[in-house]
Subunit: 246 residues, 2 copies
DNA sequence: GCACATTGTTCACATATGTGAACAAGATGT
DNA sequence: ACATCTTGTTCACATATGTGAACAATGTGC
């Protein structure tokens, strides 16, 4: 069950992150098509808890810096080492595609850092974006770091869906693709989950954390270049990763 | 009406900001005394929206960097100039008390930046904290920047409560205190809102924004020194504020 | 390797919650 | 200064939502 009002306050914050200016109750209500009264309750709750304020009289609401203070506190734990951001920045610049770091989360691979392509047609992904762990290059690069027992535990929960023509829809299909990936030296996907999307990924263990790097873009553009993109990822990781780290 | 589930996800985030480590469903449910099933729904909602993930298998949930990305986006609009943080940092260091920048929000003054005292007994305030605009030194320093008409509009909505012996409980009492503050050169409060709390504040207009600086602490410690603290605030603002700015 | 304890997940129902309609307060234009 | 339009606020009721109990899956100790 999705908790509507919990989701709504995230929507409100995302709205402010986009518009980047104060908004009145009426504007917010209209934007989402919510009743005034419901919007009123939400804004009152956020204000009372100190997360929203009215910068100027009748000038509408805006988030307080409290969000930033809170986000900083949670993010200073286990921050990604700086070289990982440099890594995806460089990969994105070299390839012109979107590059990301992903982490496992149950049955999903979650994007925890993203540098977007600048191309007009591009893979639009944001931090927090999720893809099924077995049906994406990034996810399979995570699965490669699991033991067979751990993977089996996941497989039991997955309901295999045919997202696209090439989606692996059985445990065996996934395991086969993993073996192929090991032989090949990288993971790849051609629309396995998202239509028209292709990408290359490799595992990126850091300390005891299981992460992966992925470069992805429209199939027509990146498709033929997947092997060379994969090679570039490998080379760049080798160069940027400190020798001391595992 | 307070929207419970909206407030709850803020509670969850604050919980993570405090503990700074992943927590399982059971831990969170126990901490708040929530039913497992309700907690499950909340965590599922946050995960689905990309705000929570499970860093390692069966290792519990933790917020994704998406919070940080979002908070950064909203906060890069109208950031406070750097010298304001230097200002309260210096004031806190010099006085040993808590120093803050506040902004108006309807009937409240909201703390938008805070440097806490290091003393064991101290004014504990966080970014987002709110005090009634008419019953606190910081708030009155904001009111001084309003026109009489604007203040009247606020007065109509205030329900005057006797928070402490010295709380101004009428429009006239507030206006008198404002006139005294102007004559005195600074705003002060001795337990007007919070028991045992005293403070000094002055207006701090920046561009078209109406802000204030306040230094506050336990009455027994800061009480006798309020005039000299106020003088220190004024001097320090004069020194740090760029001459070009209004 | 089995029994027990703990954690995670589903579902039907009682009840807490969102909302439409009516009202109040401000803003806008003449 | 008045009438009109827009925005903000309250409240009672219909209904969407939280939750207890029962179940499943996983971890732990012997």
């Amino acid at each position: 069950m999705i908790v509507r009002q919990a989701a709504n306050i995230l929507e409100i914050m995302e709205f402010f992150a986009q518009t980047k200016k104060p908004a009145t109750l009426a504007e917010i209500a209209d934007h989402f098509g919510w009743p005034r009264s419901s919007t009123f309750n939400l804004l009152a709750t956020l204000s009372e808890k100190g997360y929203l304020y009215e910068p100027r009289p009748r000038g509408g609401f805006y988030p307080t810096p409290r969000w930033l203070a809170m986000a900083r506190m949670v993010s200073e734990v286990e921050p990604l080492p700086p070289w990982t951001h440099a890594l995806i920045a460089e990969l994105s610049a070299e390839t012109g595609e979107t590059a990301s770091i992903t982490a496992p989360s149950g049955l999903w691979a979650v994007f925890i850092d993203v540098v977007e392509s600048q191309a007009p047609i591009r893979y639009f992904a944001t931090i927090g974006h999720r893809v099924p762990i077995h049906a994406a290059a990034s996810g399979r690069a995570l699965l490669l770091q699991y033991s067979r027992e751990e993977r089996d535990a996941l497989y039991r929960k997955i309901e295999f869906r045919q997202y696209g023509p090439s989606t692996p829809i059985s445990i065996e299909a996934v395991e086969t693709e993993l073996r192929n990936s090991t032989a090949r030296g990288y993971c790849q996907s051609f629309g396995d989950y998202s239509r028209d999307l292709a990408g290359a990924a490799i595992p990126l263990p850091i300390g005891d954390r299981r992460l992966s790097v992925v470069v992805a873009g429209p199939e027509f553009r990146i498709g033929p270049k997947v092997p060379e993109v994969a090679a570039l990822i490998t080379r760049t990781v080798d160069r940027l990763r400190p020798k001391s780290a595992a």
